[in-house]
């Protein structure tokens, strides 16, 4: 994809992607912002907030002379809020690890907390809206109770399978999620036992953190799952992928073998490919799909699901790019054995929503929706809708 850095007035998304590239490469902080009116600057700020990359443009726009004073004032205000949130997160993190550690329960920081501790260089900030910690399944209930006794209170009654219902720190400002796994679905967990995450964990600055391969996989899975319904935070997640790829020396052969065994390879490959198409990850990684069709599909996905700054309609709704949706679904389910989607849709909201998606997609593509639904239930719907 052509770099947007040379455009006279890059779009809001183009500017954000340029800023992330600039951050990754360590280039001078100034950006080519072109001539913008106030409304366009407002769009840039809103888009950065939506994609959770305000921190990336902050310093770069402050160093760019043609940026209006009011834009920098807004960025300074956002910076203060972000720093306060980080201070709180660090405090809560230490507190939670102390409470759990004091009772002999190991907790492993995930996602943003792990990236901040092990990946991001000094001075590179990452905003975090919550704290994710992995706790051994057998200790989850006890960990939850201990934190409740320490003043953390339940925010929601029901959580997804991968983590316990969210807790809120004593100030009520920071959600804490105790994860049993990093995957969304128990059937994925059957292929990737949580014990493997613990066995591969690395010590870093006195903390136990996921090894880089697992961190990359987790970030990729989270990104792709999130794109089923929305674009919020997409660029921030791709930035995470890019930073892990840029700073970690991974054994790609071993990584691919493990990812295939865990049933997550196609998802990881698709997300790394997405980061590559945006110029955030370099060419040449062996796991990338270099076929023209594969790259074209990723680009359609970027247009429909990534570089969008508003909530997206559910999969398969009219008006959406059906081919991009189909690609997303293919990738999402690619590693699943045929027939696994049969399951019991009544007990699995994800699969149930895909039934609706299959029906709608089939109509959009001119296929027989009844047949599509039947195929979906037998695990063949993706092929049936080609």
């Amino acid at each position: 994809m052509r770099s947007t850095a040379t455009r006279a007035n890059p779009s809001a998304h183009g500017l954000l992607v340029d800023a992330i590239r600039s951050e990754l490469s360590g280039e001078p902080a100034r950006l080519d912002v072109g001539g913008r009116r106030d409304a366009e600057w407002q769009a840039v700020l809103a888009c950065a907030e939506w994609h959770r990359v305000t921190t990336v443009i902050d310093v770069r726009l402050a160093a760019t002379p043609s940026v209006p004073v009011w834009v920098n004032a807004e960025l300074v205000a956002a910076r203060a809020q972000r720093i306060a949130r980080r201070l709180l997160r660090e405090q809560v993190e230490c507190d939670v690890l102390r409470v759990l550690g004091g009772e002999g329960i190991a907790a492993m920081p995930l996602k943003g907390a792990a990236l901040t501790a092990a990946i991001l260089p000094t001075g590179v900030e990452r905003d975090m809206s919550d704290l994710d910690l992995l706790v051994a399944e057998a200790e989850l209930d006890r960990a939850h109770e201990l934190l409740a006794k320490a003043g953390y209170r339940s925010a929601r009654g029901v959580g997804p399978w991968r983590h316990r219902p969210e807790l809120l720190d004593p100030t009520g400002a920071l959600p804490v999620e105790l994860h049993r796994h990093v995957v969304e679905d128990p059937r994925d967990a059957a292929r990737w036992p949580p014990a493997e995450l613990w066995a591969g964990a690395e010590e870093c600055g006195g903390w136990v953190l996921p090894r880089k391969e697992d961190l990359l996989t987790h970030v990729c899975l989270h990104f792709l799952a999130g794109r089923s319904v929305r674009s919020e935070g997409a660029l921030s997640q791709l930035r995470d992928v890019a930073w892990i790829m840029a700073t970690s020396r991974l054994d790609w052969q071993a990584f691919e073998a493990a990812a295939r065994r865990h049933g997550v390879f196609e998802r990881v490959r698709a997300v790394v490919g997405t980061a590559r198409e945006l110029g955030l990850v370099r060419d040449g990684y062996p796991l990338l799909d270099d076929t023209a069709e594969g790259r074209a599909a990723v680009r359609r996905f970027i247009v429909g699901r990534v570089l969008v700054d508003r909530p997206q309609v559910p999969l398969g709704d009219a008006g959406h790019d059906a081919r991009a949706t189909l690609w997303w679904a293919r990738v999402h389910f690619a590693d699943r054995p045929a027939g696994e989607l049969t399951g019991r849709p009544d007990r699995n909201a994800l699969v149930a929503s895909r039934s609706v998606a299959a029906w709608r997609l089939a109509r959009q593509l001119g296929a027989d929706p009844t047949q599509a639904l039947r195929d979906h239930r037998t695990g063949r719907w993706l092929a049936g809708l080609d």
Partner: protein
């Protein structure tokens, strides 16, 4: 005790982070946060439990080449405000 002799120190449960010349203070007990400009950041950094108002005024005047009377008046207000928000403790 005169205001000039009062000594301030950072209160328990307050976290601070300097960034780009400003300092963000977070009161952990309720998550409230405050921003100090360059002058406020210097004052905050110097409130280490050993300096009184006279020394703080001297430090600020030396750094910013400002009128001592104006600085004294402003610092009194700032210190009172920070103490009122439970960000600073009076320790002497």
């Amino acid at each position: 005790m005169s205001a000039a002799a009062t000594i301030y120190a950072h209160a328990e449960g307050v976290l601070a982070q300097e960034a780009h010349g400003e300092t963000v203070l977070l009161r952990v007990s309720d998550g409230s946060y405050y921003t100090l400009d360059e002058v406020g950041s210097l004052v905050w950094a110097c409130c280490d439990g050993s300096k009184g108002l006279d020394e703080l005024v001297e430090l600020v005047c030396a750094r910013f080449d400002a009128d001592p009377d104006t600085v004294r008046r402003d610092l009194r207000e700032l210190l009172a405000e920070l103490a009122g928000e439970q960000l600073l403790d009076v320790v002497g």
